[in-house]
C-alpha cells in the first residue's frame, strides 16, 4: 500500500481557507455608503423588469427569483447574464439543475451567441448538477461549491453571477444532517461577495424561506407564477422585496417564448406622449382635405370604424403606404387577414404593399399576422409592444382591434386596448386602428375607447338602387378644423378618392344613383328652360298684341272723332243753309 501525497501538495495550514478568500475591494463598499439613498443598480436587459425594479438588480448584492417550474426563472437569469456580456461584463452561470448544453441552446434561441461567449471566456458555466454519489459517513462540506465559483469569478473577472435552481442541492445528499448548515454557509458566502448575484429557486417546500434566502440573504426578491384564466395562461412577475430602493408594486404580466422575455411596465404607462404639430398625409387627398386640409397630426391615434366592406383595411393601407412613401417605417399588425391576402386584396385597388415590404421599398413596411384566437389579452399586448420596440416604427396599424372585444368578455379587452394605445402613443408613434362594427350595431361603436382616440373616422355603407356606396365622415379630430360633411368614398383600381355627394332636388344621393339623378334633374331643367322661353315669348307677344290693339283702337277712335267732326260740320252747314233759305223766304214775303 502506498499513499501518495507527492502529486498534490496538501495545505494543512488552512483549516477554513474559504473565509480567507479575498473580500470586496474597499472602494465598492465606500461607494455604497456614500450613496445610501440611491443604490446602484445593474440592468437585467429586460426592459420592463428594469423599469419595475427602477433601474435593475442591486449592484454587488444577491437577488432571488423564485417560481414554480416553467415560470421563466432560468430565462430571466440567462438574459441577465448574456445581456451583461454584451455590455462587456463577464458572467458566471452555476447550474444545479439543467444541462449546460441545454442552457447554451436556450441562450442561442434568444439570440445570444453563448458558444462564442464561452470560447472568448466572457461566459463560464459551472455544472453543479448533483450526481447520485454514494454517501458514506457524515461531515460533508460544500466548500468545493464556493471554491469553484470563486475560481471562475476570478478567472473571468465576472461581475454577474447566476445560481440557477440551487434548491436542487437540498435533496442531493440524502441523510446528511450537516447539509443545511453547509447550504447556509454557501449563501452567507455569496452574500459577502461583491458580485451582483441572481439566485433562482423553485417554490417547492418554501426552500427560499427555510434557508433565510428571502429574509436575510437576498436584497431583492422576485416571485414568478403562472395564472390560467379563460383557459389562457398568463405569466406574472411580482417584486416581493427590494431592499433600499423603490419598486413597482403589483403583478406584472410578462411574455416568455422562443424570443426570450418581454415585459410591459403596465402600471408605469403614463400619458406624457410627445406632442407633435407635424401633420401627416392619410394617403387620400380628399381625406386630408376633410381633416383640416393637411391630414392628421403625427403621433395621433386614429380609429377607422365601419361595418364589413366599408373599406377600413383599404384606408388603413393607404395610411401605411403614404407613410412608406414619406420614408417612414410602418408596422402593420393584421389580426384577421393573412399577409398574402392583405397584399393581394390591396393590389386590386392599386395598393402595392409588397413593394414597401420588399427590398426595393427599403423594407419600410413590416407586416405581422397575429391571430386573436391564439392567446390571452396580456400576451397580445406584450407581443405587439415587443414588435413595436423591436422595429421602432413611425406608424402602427392595428387591423382590426375589434377582434379582441369579440373574443373577450367585459372590460378586459377595452382596458387592454386603451393601455396598448397609450403605450404606443407614449413613444410618439401614430396609430391607425380599425374597428369592425357589426351590421346589427346600427353603426354604433361598442369599443368605447373614443376617449383615447384623436381622430375618429366613420365609414358606412349606403345601399340603394341595387348598389353599394361608401360614405365617410369625420366624427372627431382633436385640434383640427374638420369637415362636417358626409362624403362619398370610392375605391377604384387606381386608389381611393373622396368625392362630394350630389346634392339635388330631393336630398343627397350617392354612386350611380347620383348620375341617374343628375341626368334626370338636367332633363327637368332643360324642360323648364324651354317652358320659360315659351312663356317669355308669349308674354312678349301679348305685349305686342296689346300695343297693336291700342294703336288700332286709337286709330279707330281718331277716325270716329274725324267722322263725328265731319258730321257736326255737315249738320252745321245744313242747318246754316236751311236758316239761310228761311230768311230769304221771310224777306221775300215781307
Amino acid at each position: 500500500m502506498r499513499c501518495t501525497h507527492q502529486a498534490y501538495k496538501q495545505s494543512a495550514s488552512v483549516p477554513d481557507t474559504w473565509q480567507q478568500l479575498p473580500a470586496a475591494p474597499a472602494q465598492s463598499q465606500s461607494e455604497i455608503t456614500l450613496n445610501p439613498s440611491k443604490p446602484e443598480t445593474v440592468d437585467t436587459g429586460i426592459q420592463g423588469l428594469d423599469f419595475v425594479l427602477q433601474g435593475g438588480l442591486p449592484r454587488g448584492r444577491p437577488s432571488l427569483i423564485r417560481g414554480g417550474p416553467g415560470t421563466g426563472k432560468t430565462v430571466i437569469s440567462l438574459t441577465y447574464l448574456c445581456h451583461g456580456i454584451t455590455q462587456g461584463e463577464p458572467g458566471v452561470l452555476v447550474t444545479f439543475d439543467e444541462d449546460p448544453d441545454a442552457l447554451l441552446h436556450h441562450a442561442r434561441g434568444f439570440g445570444f451567441p453563448a458558444d462564442t461567449y464561452l470560447k472568448e471566456g466572457s461566459l463560464r458555466i459551472l455544472d453543479m448538477r448533483p450526481d447520485q454519489s454514494e454517501t458514506a459517513g457524515e461531515g460533508i462540506e460544500l466548500t468545493a461549491v464556493l471554491t469553484r465559483i470563486e475560481y471562475a469569478l476570478k478567472q473571468t473577472g465576472a461581475h454577474r453571477l447566476v445560481l440557477d435552481a440551487i434548491d436542487g442541492m437540498e435533496g442531493a445528499f440524502p441523510g446528511q444532517s450537516g447539509l443545511r448548515k453547509e447550504l447556509n454557509r454557501v449563501f452567507d458566502w455569496v452574500r459577502d461577495q461583491r458580485v451582483t448575484t441572481l439566485i433562482t429557486t423553485g417554490e417547492v417546500e418554501n426552500f427560499s424561506t427555510r434557508f433565510g434566502l428571502e429574509d436575510y440573504i437576498a436584497d431583492c426578491v422576485i416571485a414568478l407564477k403562472q395564472e390560467v384564466q379563460h383557459r389562457v395562461m398568463t405569466r406574472l412577475l411580482r417584486v416581493v422585496k427590494r431592499r433600499g430602493g423603490p419598486h413597482g408594486a403589483g403583478e406584472f404580466p410578462f411574455l416568455l417564448d422562443s424570443q426570450g422575455i418581454f415585459m410591459v411596465p403596465v402600471s408605469g404607462a403614463a400619458l406624457d406622449a410627445r406632442v407633435s404639430s407635424e401633420r401627416i398625409s392619410s394617403g387620400v387627398p380628399g381625406l386630408d382635405q376633410m381633416l383640416g386640409g393637411k391630414g392628421p397630426y403625427k403621433g395621433s391615434t386614429i380609429l377607422l370604424s365601419g361595418q364589413a366592406g366599408t373599406g377600413k383595411t383599404s384606408l388603413a393601407s393607404a395610411f401605411a403606404q403614404a407613410a412608406c412613401r414619406r420614408g417612414e417605417k410602418v408596422l402593420y399588425i393584421s389580426f384577421e387577414e393573412s399577409i398574402d391576402e392583405l397584399v393581394r386584396n390591396q393590389s386590386s385597388i392599386g395598393g402595392d404593399l409588397a413593394h414597401h415590404a420588399g427590398p426595393e421599398g427599403g423594407h419600410r413596411l413590416i407586416m405581422e399576422p397575429v391571430r386573436a384566437i391564439e392567446m390571452g389579452l396580456e400576451e397580445h399586448l406584450m407581443r405587439i409592444m415587443r414588435s413595436v420596440s423591436r422595429h421602432q416604427p413611425d406608424l402602427v396599424v392595428l387591423d382590426p382591434i375589434s377582434s379582441f372585444t369579440n373574443r373577450h368578455e367585459g372590460d378586459c379587452a377595452k382596458e387592454m386596448l386603451l393601455r396598448l394605445m397609450y403605450l404606443i402613443k407614449e413613444q410618439g408613434i401614430t396609430t391607425v386602428a380599425t374597428e369592425l362594427l357589426s351590421d346589427s350595431s346600427g353603426g354604433v361603436s361598442h369599443l368605447d375607447v373614443s376617449s383615447m382616440i384623436d381622430v375618429w373616422i366613420k365609414l358606412r355603407r349606403h345601399e340603394g338602387n341595387g348598389e353599394l356606396n361608401r360614405l365617410i365622415t369625420v366624427i372627431k379630430a382633436r385640434g383640427l378644423a374638420i369637415s362636417n360633411q358626409v362624403k362619398e368614398f370610392r375605391m377604384t383600381d387606381s386608389g381611393m378618392t373622396i368625392e362630394d355627394p350630389y346634392v339635388g332636388e330631393s336630398g343627397i344621393v350617392y354612386g350611380t344613383a347620383r348620375h341617374a339623378r343628375q341626368a334626370e334633374d338636367e332633363q327637368v331643367i332643360a324642360q323648364l328652360h324651354r317652358e320659360l322661353e315659351q312663356a317669355r315669348r308669349l308674354r312678349e307677344e301679348t305685349e305686342e298684341i296689346n300695343a297693336a290693339r291700342e294703336r288700332l283702337a286709337r286709330a279707330e277712335r281718331e277716325a270716329r272723332a274725324v267722322d263725328l267732326d265731319r258730321q257736326v260740320m255737315e249738320l252745321e252747314r245744313r242747318l246754316a243753309s236751311i236758316e239761310g233759305a228761311r230768311s230769304a223766304i221771310r224777306r221775300s214775303r215781307q
Binding site: 498534490y8 481557507t17 446528511q176
Partner: protein, 93 residues
C-alpha cells in the same frame, strides 16, 4: 491482483478531511492483505480549483475511483466502511 487508483478530494484540512484520510488509509491497509494494490492520491481543491472543476466536485471529502473504470465516487468522511466498499464497488474476499 486488482489495481485500484483512488483520489480523495478535500477542501482544506478540515476535521472531516482528516477523518476521511484516516479512514481511507485504514481501508487501504486492510485491502493490502487481500492482494489488492491501492494507490491513493489526496487533492486539496483549495490548491487546485481547476481539478475540482474538471471532476465536477460539489461536496467534500469525496473519494473517486479512477481505476479500474467505470469511475465511481463516495462522499463523506468514509466512516462507514461497508458503504465505502459498496460505493466504490470494491469486492472483499
Amino acid at each position: 491482483m486488482t489495481q485500484y487508483l483512488l483520489r480523495l478530494y478535500i477542501a482544506g484540512m478540515t476535521p472531516a478531511a482528516r477523518r476521511a484520510i484516516k479512514n481511507l488509509e485504514a481501508l487501504t491497509a486492510d485491502m493490502a492483505g487481500q492482494e489488492m494494490d491501492m494507490q491513493v492520491e489526496v487533492v486539496d481543491i483549495l490548491e487546485r480549483p481547476q481539478l475540482a472543476e474538471d471532476e465536477r466536485i460539489l461536496a467534500t471529502p469525496v473519494v473517486v475511483r479512477r481505476l479500474p473504470p467505470p469511475v465511481r465516487r463516495v462522499v463523506g468522511d468514509l466512516s462507514e466502511r461497508e458503504r465505502v466498499l459498496v460505493g466504490l464497488d470494491i469486492l472483499e474476499r
